[in-house]
Symmetry: D2
Subunit: 412 residues, 4 copies
């Protein structure tokens, strides 16, 4: 009987609990034992789940009750030329796009082919421009006061003691920087939205720990009582207008200008047809739908890039919040994607896992940037450019499919 | 020189393109060659990405330009007792919860431990109830008309010819059933929202193909011109009120009633404290944030379950749209999570991949259900119950952390 | 001492209460006495407030604690040519626009002049088309159940007993017709959205009374307990996506096609410039703002028309929910306004008051239509056309102001 | 033939246009002539519309094409005790609520009676607290740039030249103060949201004029081209999350604490029942409805107060954006209303008209405050307290109606 089999038996005998196995064996043996238990309980066969390509201890900070790994097919898009904030010198004319290969992990057939088609059009046209226009990982605790009169005194204290809050927050982190604190009041609830520059880290943990320290100061100095360290004005992993308007993580825009002949050659349609599809679908249709996202499928690229590069998959919810615009400028097409709240990092979290780390190295963006934050900025810009490629390709497909059927009609 | 090395050289020589490799070798060799090219171009090492546990041809319908696979740690939550629609007999008193192990793939440390804590409380309390209350995968094309007068004639045609549209749509599918068509007009754009019962398939492709056939009939019989087969009133992979209100995929609710002593023992706090945290954070905070999601972190469980079981990761955007409610009923706590638009399937798409298929078999829900749709219903119900476990645990953590610090204060 | 002075003294002596005066005198004397009391208490002079032009008893169902009347300047826009649903015969080519004068009451200087400019352009171009595309006054009570399992049984009862609900609802009204009942569930709250055709009445009271009767049946027959007769899925007097998507009252669209030369002559700009202003401001700007209204100032026309014609001023909130679209079609401009939830009536409520009734008679739309509902439909269509005139004029002003300053720049 | 009859004849003869009459006669004669024309054209009788109680010239800045006035019944609510920002001294315990009579103009029967009931409960309980927590009238022009790279240079210019923008803006106004400029970018559109302290004026015109001056500076100094002086991120007269989150005009909160026995005596129900109605209807129901307003009927009070006091009726749209919270605190009820964007003034606009000016004098808040802004602050606070009274009364009615029917049930 192997060690794992012995452990599994002890679980089945009620001697050990499923989540205690790591206390009795090394992580790989524990995972094996856990698979044995679950296989026995459910009749499932977990052979491939157990065939993961890294020592389980690498994943210890990422998972509990580990069984193994989900394997999601990873492909690659590119070359995709992007001129980001670091690629342009101040002097006009010195724009130097960088060609990237963007790894995407997905189970949606045709996605990579489609994004690749858009990427080719963009790259042929000289590349996309992309810029991070705002940064700030937020955390917004909610405090109880006894009413609006007391809330006013708390707000006054916050305004007068910004330094004390900043000092407390920043004492918890060597990298993060408190950018500001925005107060909101609803009746006897006071929300303070703390925003941090977290450099190359996605930064939610950093923001949470720093905010807790600041919240403790507020509780000590004012009548405010902390009810929840996150009061949903952050807003993490929920679609929320506050993020769409004010941003979270990185607010990043990518755009491209593509000559009309290239649109026809590469995308099989015209600037006018793409503009019309975008206006009726992404602007008017989204408006009628009561949407927070005015795009075709930005989430596809954001989700696939997040999976490949070790970002938090649940943050696709707000990371995919995007407005796509298209203008037929006559002899060329202008298209842009503006992502309001893309939360990405190149250090920490899932970026440390082997396949994810390898994917980041395909982009040359693993680890800390120089200056700090530069890698996460560049990652945000490339993902935005990838989303732009996806938008262009899908809009063109919608528009040209119609054109082709229109052509058939005319041919009758 | 291996076959892969030869192929890679031909790509570097410009003789082959990166996405043509599958035409010249079997999928695994092609993927190896592609890794060689990308490694050479970028300096990355793709060893672990290349160490995937399935024949590449299995993934051919899921990926293009394959490099290998992203490996995301998978753990397990449970046992989680859930009484779903199929577990209760019509006669009152015949409620028989089923104990499930729910596989979750994530890189967020502590998530599984937290959900597990909530699951234990729910299971100890007799299990969650869960119900799919609405079904319908939607696709909403947008048509151009010349103005509102013409739009009116199109709407009249649609109303008078519902049968013709249904016939065209259903001619494309042996499984799907058209449930209805809802028209919307904005100026000279007409949107028709088609809803289908797609049984155990998530069903977006089925809905798209069927809708295309119906759209062709409409174009042939009326002055309406199709502009885009998706006009964003579907609404796929964007947060949109139309889904939050009317649902998409499955609308599913899970709830549980937990005795106060169990709340204290398992969750370390009181029903009153959890209710307060939920009201100030998930209801009032979300309202102030302009949110479409009134929950704490439903996206975490939805994303992790989607990754583990082969769902579309980009659909976490609307899949995580949830309202969490909590009531302190005195001697017990009532809590619920209502997911408006959870799009899940147990056949097709990513569910066919090896690790994902294995995860579904842990739930006993792989493949078609009996009757058709039953497996996808049950999967939706278990994910909803998992989300409920996650909500309870996080709300309790927020509430008790405060309680404990309050206790320390009082102890001074 | 007049009767009013005597009454006022009795109030000051604490013998009568301010709201009891109508029990002791005719309404005009009571209002006079009330003004005396308030003038004495506050030092205000209420002479003009007291100089109202109708017998106070006319207003008894509209106001309590009457002091007199607010006088809001009323002007007129027109002629505004509108071809509504009743103006077009089924045969193409038989379009006969009707020229309307639209009374507007407002205190915003320049509003009427601006709308008039737009109206002139529309009328010169042959008039607007307008259509009511959906009707239904809604009321949505919320019921308490003990959980989702019980909610399911309630939903099943509702589905099986639609006739019983309709019978109860319709027993309360001779005019109204129940169009349908849509159920929604969140945890242990069940919402039923009842929709009624209320003909020429705005119909909220009718809908409320009918729904109460149906709710009583539901309470008697199922475990559901009524918590509030309005559960905010109605949704009355709040901006809500459910109304923007599904409509409330009338969903009405007005559009017009204006030759380019007329755009330049009447509006001082070009179709292209108006399209650009609309796209960047009303579509993209509104998207970024997290708006439920994608227009320039539809609320101005809706509010002014509501005030003039005796509609409920608080329903401007959802009545002004509109999407404006503009297309440069080369030699002509297409523009539309789609109002999702315009709640108007030509009988009942404030329409009975003298100045409001006179304003309706300017439109020829006072009282019941033939068939019933036709007058309220036509009123909705004219207001929509007025909103379109306002949109065109303001967009043109924004666009041309820029053009003119651009011209000046070029002239330097 | 009177002068008016002569003028009317000249209009009918095509010699004069309807909107030119003021050039040929004094405003009252012109209005009389216009009524004659419209009466002749439409068959309407405009006698009461023509029976307005002020010289027409007073309304010249408020209306064009004047016919007369709409008369809306005005009543009064009160006494309503409110302790606003100016009523409390810094020292605790020195709270001195002021008793107000709040004039409301409405055509909705029972509204004033209902608000009055809530006001009585609040006043008996010692009055409401109310605070303006944020001020800022906004205007957000949209500029065209050629892409995101250029947008970045514009943003950098704005950041570096805040002083130049402020100087230009403030050169246009003696009262207004620029509080800040917030930039937003979507593709090739740059939005700058200017916020002003406009003291006792509602301030939209002031903000528009000042912003135009600043926009001209930006156009002169950067490549940005103004497309529209309002780019809908302002956001005026549209429901928009940006206002709900960040405020516009005044952000004002009113709350009250009412002993349980008073709730039963005055409102006929219990704190628990009101809390439940508020949670299920205003919080959960509004969440499910995709609402921007989480209240019962704040728009009723806001609209009626706006009409009475000469505010802009179209601004009810965002003025009514409110979150209502209710807590059963055991022996007392806590209730609050938080209005995010209440745009009110006590000088300028409709406040100058006679009945409106008289209504403001009932509140003692006509004209400029001391210090400037104090009157508009106080007006916002009283309207908020009025909205609170309305919420309490309606929630209590909903709750008690249920209680009474529940009582009947129990009595069987």
């Amino acid at each position: 009987m192997t060690d794992a089999e012995t452990l599994a038996e002890r679980v089945r005998d009620g001697e050990l609990r499923l989540h205690d196995l790591e206390e009795h064996a090394d992580p790989d043996v524990a995972a094996t034992a856990r698979r044995l238990v679950i296989e026995a309980e459910t009749g499932a066969d977990l052979e491939t789940v157990g065939d993961y390509g890294f020592p389980a201890e690498v994943a210890e900070s990422a998972i509990e009750n580990m069984l193994g790994a989900a394997q999601v097919p990873m492909g690659v898009v590119g070359p995709l030329a992007v001129a980001g904030g670091a690629d342009d010198s101040a002097a006009a004319g010195n724009r130097k796009p960088t060609e990237h290969y963007l790894p995407l992990a997905t189970t949606e057939g045709a996605l990579i082919a489609s994004v690749n088609r858009g990427a080719a059009a963009i790259t042929d046209a000289g590349g996309a421009d992309a810029r991070v226009v705002k940064r700030g990982m937020t955390r917004a605790p909610v405090f109880r006061v006894d009413g609006i009169a007391q809330a006013e005194t708390v707000l006054e204290w916050v305004q007068a003691n910004a330094d004390a809050l900043a000092e407390a927050a920043q004492s918890t982190t060597s990298h993060g920087e408190l950018l500001g604190v925005e107060p909101y009041v609803v009746g006897d609830s006071v929300f303070l939205r703390f925003a941090y520059d977290t450099k190359d880290a996605m930064g939610m943990n950093m923001a949470t720990i720093a905010t807790r320290a600041a919240a403790e100061v507020l509780e000590a100095e004012t009548p405010a009582d902390l009810v929840a360290l996150s009061g949903n004005l952050c807003s993490d992993k929920k679609p929320a207008a506050i993020n769409a308007v004010e941003g979270r993580g990185r607010t990043v825009v990518a755009d491209a200008t593509i000559p009309a002949e290239l649109v026809e050659e590469r995308l099989g349609t015209t600037p006018a047809a793409i503009e019309e599809a975008n206006t009726r679908k992404n602007l008017v249709g989204s408006a009628k739908a009561g949407a927070l996202g005015f795009n075709a499928h930005a989430a596809n690229v954001v989700a696939a890039a997040f999976l490949a590069t070790g970002q938090d998959a649940a943050q696709v919810v707000e990371g995919a919040n995007a407005i796509t615009t298209v203008e037929d400028r006559g002899d060329e097409l202008y298209a842009s994607v503006s992502l309001a709240s893309l939360e990405v990092g190149t250090v920490g979290g899932g970026t440390k896992l082997p396949t994810q780390s390898e994917a980041l190295s395909v982009l040359g963006l693993g680890g800390s940037g120089d200056p700090p934050g530069a890698n996460a900025d560049a990652l945000a810009e490339v993902i935005a450019a990838g989303a732009l490629a996806g938008e262009l390709s899908l809009l063109a497909a919608l528009a040209s499919r119609h054109l082709s059927s229109a052509h058939e009609e005319l041919g009758r």
